[in-house]
């Protein structure tokens, strides 16, 4: 790693929604995250790219608390959340989606999103009234599905939904937690290229208040939707910058086109 990481850019007067400081993690002797410092300003549309095994998903796991770091800090809206459990982070407004569908296969889309809304509203412990009695929660769930064009499929069992719609449901479940920061792990993974636009149109249609970080391999998509790109190689930030800067960076070209780093 010859190229030094750029210092975090000046983000003007925008508040930092999510930040990591000197975040490090290793599996045994294998470092998978090295001294990672990221600042996501509120409303950001940041892309996280890097070759396979660069530690992109690991970074999301660290941020969301599914993995515990060996060192470093994670700050959500300025608060240190490093020691909080995953569900506590979700309740504070940090949600994620999964690269491999992690859905409720036996529930239909309406039930699944209603469950998430019920959890957020603190209703999920109530066992004395039928779900049908919580009209507002149901309406909210349906509205999320409708916005993602899943309204007509909401009574279909998840496992029977077409794959592309399952990818949208991944996003719907995360949105139902009403996140401030949303981390999307390859939202269009496995979707045929001609259909992946649909998934990213949905992502592009999300509220401007929502802070987004997404992992994506398709450079066309990255250049189109990201305002800022972070390049991760070997568990460390290789470089970061605007799409134009990244496109012009010979180091990034070498990483991607030259000797690819695996591991």
């Amino acid at each position: 790693m010859s190229a030094p990481a750029h210092p975090a850019r000046d983000t003007g007067d925008r508040a930092i929604a999510l930040a990591t400081r000197a975040l490090s993690k290793s599996f045994g002797s294998l470092p998978v995250a090295r001294d990672i410092a990221i600042n996501l300003p509120a409303g950001a549309r940041h892309a996280l790219i890097g070759p396979n095994g660069a530690g992109k998903t690991t970074l999301i796991n660290l941020m969301t608390g599914m993995l515990a770091p060996n060192a470093g800090q994670i700050l959500l809206g300025g608060d240190d959340i490093t020691t909080l459990g995953p569900q506590e982070r979700v309740r504070r407004g940090l949600a994620r989606t999964f690269q491999i569908n992690t859905l409720f296969a036996g529930l239909n889309a309406l039930e699944a999103v209603t469950l998430v809304v019920a959890e957020r509203r603190g209703l999920a412990g109530q066992f004395w009234r039928s779900v049908g009695g919580y009209g507002e929660a149901i309406d909210e769930a349906y509205e999320i599905l409708r916005k993602l064009k899943l309204g007509d499929a909401c009574y279909q069992v998840t496992r029977e939904l077409p794959y592309g719609r399952q990818r949208l449901l991944e996003i719907a479940l995360a949105l139902a937690t009403k996140p401030k920061v949303l981390l999307l792990d390859e939202p269009a993974a496995g979707v045929p290229q001609e259909e992946s636009g649909e998934v990213f149109e949905a992502v592009a249609g999300l509220s401007d208040d929502l802070t987004l970080l997404f992992i994506e391999h398709d450079m066309h998509v990255v250049f189109r939707f990201a305002s800022h790109i972070i390049v991760l190689v070997g568990g460390a930030i290789f470089t970061e910058g605007t799409p134009a800067e990244i496109a012009a960076d010979p180091g990034v070209r070498e990483v991607y086109l030259g000797k690819r780093k695996h591991g």
């Binding site: 009695g133 009574y155 139902a176």
Partner: protein, 329 residues
């Protein structure tokens, strides 16, 4: 269901899930038949109702939340011994006995749930098996209290509501067991259709996703386990009261295994799975043991293997599958 759903609003769709199906009403009316048609089988009928209640409690944790248990008889036994002992020491009033037994079993379940909620799958099978064996040996060892392998004697239950005496023919026993089953079933039906029931299904369907939607799965499991333990205790108490005795068998591994078999036969994760499973299992046991008293488990084995191979979602799962196909035509 999909054709009806197209015309429904999302609210209407979820409200409709709570509505009674005509088959359900038919099922509950049929439970009254033994009074008229099989008065000689009333004691079997009350055994079935008690076992169904026990299976219902396992269904809440295993069928809905996907939490395996091989030691569920521990709570059944705690309920049975509690009800039996209360009566032996002078308080024979049945309804308060039931409530106390359920409360104590629920309390023990709550304590155990802090261990249970931390584990899954194979580990959990071993832990629940171990806890079940522990409870059995504790009851066996405490001969002075439980009567050990001789069983608890001297249980005497007062008339229900001060009116209905437990008669020799088993009319009161069956009515009492059936009433307990029905009341708990109504509560269980609510629970399953509630947001909490939805969360339990979420845990079963995807354990990994639950924290990522902000859900505290362990808290849900603790709650479900406590409720299931209380219901199991209630079932045990009904058995103790209607038979006016408690045997070591009520807390045995055999009972834990049997209830699991029933649930799988009937269809786990379905409201009526445990009920139908209990009916089939108990009647099969009654009939098979008539044919060959010592080898009746052989036929239960055949039944279990056949059902699991042919109908992986149990008998009810299979039936609803065929029903859905038939309706689509």
């Amino acid at each position: 269901m999909t054709t009806e759903a197209a015309t429904l609003t999302p609210r209407g769709y979820l409200q409709a899930q709570n509505r009674w199906h005509p088959l359900e009403i038919a099922f509950w009316l049929a439970t009254l038949l033994p009074f008229v048609l099989f008065p000689d089988y009333l004691s079997l009928a009350s055994q079935i109702a008690i076992t169904a209640l026990f299976a219902l409690s396992l269904d809440i944790i295993l069928g809905y939340a996907g939490i395996v248990s091989l030691g569920h008889a521990a709570f059944f036994g705690i309920g049975a011994y509690t009800a039996g002992l209360i009566s032996k020491f002078g308080w024979g009033e049945p309804l308060s006995g039931l409530i106390l037994a359920a409360a104590l079993a629920g309390l023990v379940g709550f304590a155990a749930s802090f261990i249970i909620s931390r584990f899954r799958h194979f580990t959990l099978i071993m832990i629940t098996l171990g806890l079940g064996l522990l409870a059995f040996e504790a009851a066996n060892r405490a001969h002075w209290l439980t009567g050990g392998s001789d069983g608890l004697q001297g249980v005497s239950i007062w008339p229900v509501l001060g009116i209905f005496k437990f008669d020799l023919y088993g009319y009161t026993a069956y009515a009492y067991s059936l009433a307990a089953l029905f009341v708990v079933f109504l509560a269980g039906r609510r629970l399953i259709n509630s947001p909490f029931g939805l969360a339990l299904r979420g845990i079963r369907e995807n354990w990994v996703r639950m924290p990522a939607i902000g859900a505290d799965s362990r808290a849900h499991i603790r709650k479900a386990y406590t409720i299931a333990a209380a219901i199991a205790g209630l079932a045990g108490a009904v058995l103790a009261q209607t038979t006016e005795s408690v045997s070591l068998e009520s807390i045995s591994f055999q009972r834990s295994a049997d209830v699991l078999v029933m649930l799988v036969l009937g269809g786990a994760g379905r409201l009526y799975g445990g009920l139908v499973g209990a009916v089939i299992f108990m009647i099969a046991r009654d009939q098979f043991s008539g044919i060959a008293p010592q080898f009746w488990y052989f036929w239960i084995g055949v039944l279990l293997v056949t059902v699991v191979m042919v109908l992986p979602n149990g008998i009810l799962g299979g039936l609803s599958h065929f029903y859905a196909r038939w309706k689509r035509k």
